[in-house]
Symmetry: C2
């Protein structure tokens, strides 16, 4: 059977390449950069993520599964959940985020670390193309300040993150995660580095590649849709982010030992 | 005392920032991208390196010190050493590489994974500005093929890498490292990922940030300049790359345990 190949700038990625998944994700980011979705710093951030994903074995481990389940219960219980979207998240998995927002009844809000009207619009277009009805975070009229921040990122939408009880932050920086927590939000983060300040600060940290985890989260929400609030509250209260992060770190340590021929 | 601050695109990096070193290195790469030295894929590669450097504790560990010493002895014994330079290496530490080439009596050769005449010329200009007399790898007339490669990177300079007995490869990809080894070259690699194919293939792998290690290597060459060949051969033969890589992996595992609150 003919197997399709994928072109990067000057190279063809054969389907048989041992790292084809990772290379195809990389291509999404580079394409996202070319189309104005992704900042230069976004390419650096993606590289950091790649390294951690490689160390995690490029698969969704048990700690990530547990965090996804707790996040699904939290989102189902939420009154006003919002998903924050930046350039990398849009380039990597716009369709999955739109579908997650529908599944979770959550609003989508564009929020950039390196503010740029042009990039903001490119992200909105990408989300709309994937079926998003409304995207917050672009109207100066409804712009509000998040306390405890000194970057452009303190700006949030008063009809979105400012009013939210639960905020999903894919690929977020530590300062903002801390500010969202201080503002009383329950923070669900996607972060491949279990040691990062975001990972350590969020209430629920999904240490997994968002390209795998966003779809799993939507599926889990569907799965628990029938359960009553008591059961959902129990799922949430049984989840311990700190010990779960320690399990992700153990997962990386185990992979290092195995691949380094130490075990 | 007034302490200088550094501007990234939109942010000021204060001298007091806990990750100031890493952020300043990042800035060098982003500036290198803007000035045409660095490819988009180079930003991703830098991100991967950052993650591993973070896990190594952002310092030159004992395994790196040992590899640097073995590399210094190998370069001192070499008949015809060549340092391969790509865009990231030039953006990160052009001055250190020029000074290393002088200290080691090694030629400099530009070699790009994502071939581009424009980028090649930008790298040559950068090296020249730092005092390089001659930079190989840009003349089509002296271009030759390295066997066992199918990318543009198989092209090497017949007056440089093709004739070299020892090749220093900063930030190299696995295919090329393997091809250089097959061609009978002794390969000294800088690679922050001790599990990478380059790290596992090279004769001597310096698992350290090149911005720290290049200067240390030049200093070690100066230090051992007076020693006779027998002593130098002994330093080389006592070095075991495989067990040294295992020590770097152990260094990362130890940092993960400490920072994850496991130890």
């Amino acid at each position: 059977m003919w197997e399709p190949e994928f072109l990067t700038t000057r190279h063809v990625i054969p389907r048989s390449h041992p790292r084809v998944e990772s290379l195809l994700i990389r291509k999404k980011l580079v394409d996202g950069f070319d189309s104005g979705l992704v900042a230069r710093e976004g390419l650096l951030a993606q590289g950091r993520g790649e390294a951690f994903d490689y160390l995690l074995g490029e698969k969704t481990g048990r700690p990530a599964r547990r965090a996804i389940r707790a996040a699904a219960a939290t989102l189902t219980l939420a009154e006003f959940p919002v998903i924050s979207v930046n350039g990398n998240a849009a380039a990597l998995c716009a369709a999955e985020l739109v579908s997650l927002s529908m599944q979770a009844g959550a609003k989508l809000e564009v929020n950039l670390f390196y503010a740029s009207k042009k990039r903001e619009q490119a992200i909105v277009r990408t989300l709309r193309k994937c079926g998003a009805q409304k995207v917050l975070g672009t109207s100066p009229a409804s712009s509000a300040r998040l306390q405890g921040m000194d970057s452009a990122r303190r700006m949030v939408d008063r009809d979105g993150i400012l009013a939210a009880d639960v905020v999903v932050v894919p690929l977020e920086d530590g300062d903002r995660t801390a500010a969202l927590k201080s503002a009383g939000k329950t923070v669900i983060a996607f972060d491949l580095n279990p040691l990062s300040r975001t990972a350590q600060t969020a209430h629920i940290t999904i240490v997994d590649n968002i390209t795998r985890a966003a779809g799993l989260l939507a599926a889990d929400i569907q799965k628990i849709a029938g359960k009553n609030a008591k059961v959902l509250h129990q799922i949430v209260s049984e989840f311990d982010n700190r010990s779960n992060l320690a399990d992700s770190i153990a997962q990386i340590r185990g992979n290092l030992a195995r691949r380094g021929g130490l075990a």
